[in-house]
Symmetry: C2
Subunit: 339 residues, 2 copies
DNA sequence: AAGTATCATAAAACCGATTTCATAATATAA
DNA sequence: TTATATTATGAAATCGGTTTTATGATACTT
């Protein structure tokens, strides 16, 4: 493996001079610079980033931790994030936790070990100990999408509360009264706020809240299509059957839909379904679910910008809290039922 | 930042002893080991992976380079890959090239710099120079999905030729004669082989090949939904209109479908559509396209296993060439036209 | 009991870059 | 022309681990 010493020898200079050329730092005579560059070329020299990081104490690498790489919401976040970081000279390593807090903790550990410069995370965990490890080392961190109690850090997220109100108001406007909600565990701030929004919208419309119509997943760690499926099956066993279902996110809506179909219920004829988040390209075939869409791409971009500014020491202390408004998109999954 | 020296001091031993404990190498007295472990705990010590890699000359990190993180095919590959590598103690960094060969080259460069232990790649590039840089450094590499001319390396891929034959035979069996193909640039081996399979199936059925029905993307670098859309638009301008369209992959099928719908053509009533690769979860809503499904998850797993075996020096020289058979899944996108 | 093998540990060298410090060569100022 | 500032470069220290080498203490042979 060719090192900076080999290049130095070939160019007839010292390693420090080669380093100066590579990093464009300090004064180097034009002619020397050329000799060094030629030597690099000839030897196919690629500097060892590990050695460089060791000395420089930075890695020009960020981590983006997300719970589900298959969800278009997070791939949009990813694309927005990488778009910015790439332009500003950083690599980002994507950590897909699959909604598993153990994996999340493992990732944090290797991030710590690799001395990553900054972390953006959508956490699935009930605990924040592993994230405090990051903060205690003064590694810049930003939350995306989900808030975390007891952790005062920068965050970019959507307004789940208002989004839920939009969705439920839409259903109420269509004449629905028996509206069920199927959502993820409420240790996730988004799920908690969507539930709050749901209740608030019903209250405002003077519709009594029926706990039988509220199904909160307590078994998994995140938004699970399978759990949504199971919970709808339970829901439909009850005497009280809803005329509309609000699914916590796009994937839960899929589980909801599957369960309904198996029970012989048609959407929207027999029952309406709405949810959070879009499915992008999928809807080229058949735009279907009425949803509240969050600006995922923008969230990724803004998170990257804030994180990089922190790393490069721009607006220091004051924590950024960016809350983006989602947009209601009405499609075919709700009929015009008048109850 | 706490270093191995801090731990050593706290435990009252030398750094080499701490290293021995950390790496479980060499003999260490039980009591000393405990003292060291406690010191690590108390100081929240996380070894610097860059320093370690520098000395050990490995990073326990692999790179997986894929062209489209939004395509379920590649996320399946990813999951299969990570499942194996994680279990065997390796991290994998995912490099999403977005079908852009410049990005691919950039990734290769940082992979080289970071001294990654091995590379798995689905290349989008027409050139192989950047990949030869990897091979020249004796960095283990394996191709996934796409072959590359002039590069003798291990590979795990699907049988695009046979898959295409299955698809076209299915259409022919349904009575179709005027079958169009819309596919990616043929510098991609999969596209080339699908085209060959298409031609072979027609030949075998004594159906003349009509070049007007063959649309090969020459503008983009990969399988593009947008380009498929445009090419179908062109196709439908011609006097000769097909009764069935074979789309190069799942995303191209989406573009095909969109164009057809805009032209007022219904699938499958007016025209049949088949394609390569599935869409997984999407089909929970409406399983639609008849496809030939490749075992993406298995491909990822096998690629990981072969790559790791190479890295850990198991079956040395002989190059593995794994070709997996795809499976025809018949759904609703083809009617029972008799022409 | 003396000689050899094994265990336990420390000191020092090393991985490959960057950075500080020192110094010679050149340019500029007085 | 001499003093000073600037440019150009190299030697050596450093980042934080791992590994080699050396050595004293135990354990095992015969």
């Amino acid at each position: 493996m060719v090192t900076i010493y080999d290049v130095a020898k070939k160019a007839g200079v010292s390693p420090s001079t080669v380093s100066r050329v590579l990093n464009k730092r300090g004064n180097v005579k034009e002619e020397t610079r050329k000799r060094v560059e030629q030597a690099c070329q000839k030897l196919n020299y690629v500097p060892n980033a590990n050695a460089s990081s060791l000395r420089k104490k930075n890695t020009k690498t960020l981590a983006l931790i997300i719970p589900d790489i298959e969800n278009p919401f997070y791939t949009s976040v990813l694309k927005g994030f990488e778009g910015i970081t790439g332009k500003r000279g950083y690599n980002t390593i994507v950590c897909n936790t699959d909604g598993n807090s153990t994996k999340e903790e493992d990732f944090i550990n290797t991030i710590l070990a690799k001395r990553i410069d900054g972390v953006a995370i959508t956490s699935v965990s009930r605990s924040i100990d592993h994230l405090n490890l990051v903060l205690n080392r003064n590694i810049p961190m930003i939350l995306i999408d989900r808030k975390l109690n007891g952790l005062d850090v920068d965050i970019v997220c959507g307004d789940s509360f208002q989004g839920a109100i939009k969705l439920v108001n839409h259903l109420i406007g269509l004449g629905h009264q028996k509206i069920a909600i199927i959502t993820a565990p409420v240790h996730l701030s988004t799920s908690r706020e969507r539930l709050e929004g749901y209740k608030t919208a019903l209250n405002r419309a003077n519709i009594p809240i029926d706990n039988n119509l509220i199904k909160i997943d307590k078994k998994s760690e995140g938004y699970s299509s399978e759990r949504a499926y199971e919970m709808v099956k339970e829901l439909l066993e009850q005497q009280e059957v809803p005329t509309a279902i609000f699914a916590g996110n796009n994937f839960m809506a899929l589980g909801v839909y599957k369960a309904l179909r198996e029970k012989g219920l048609k959407v929207p004829q027999d029952i309406a379904v709405v949810c959070f988040d879009d499915m992008n390209f999928i809807y080229q075939i058949e735009p279907f679910f009425t949803t509240v869409v969050q600006p995922a791409y923008t969230m990724g971009k803004m998170a990257a910008e804030i994180l990089l500014n922190k790393i490069e020491g721009r607006y220091e202390d004051n924590k950024q809290k960016v809350i983006l408004q989602p947009q209601l998109i009405i499609r075919k999954s709700c009929g015009y039922k008048t109850n």
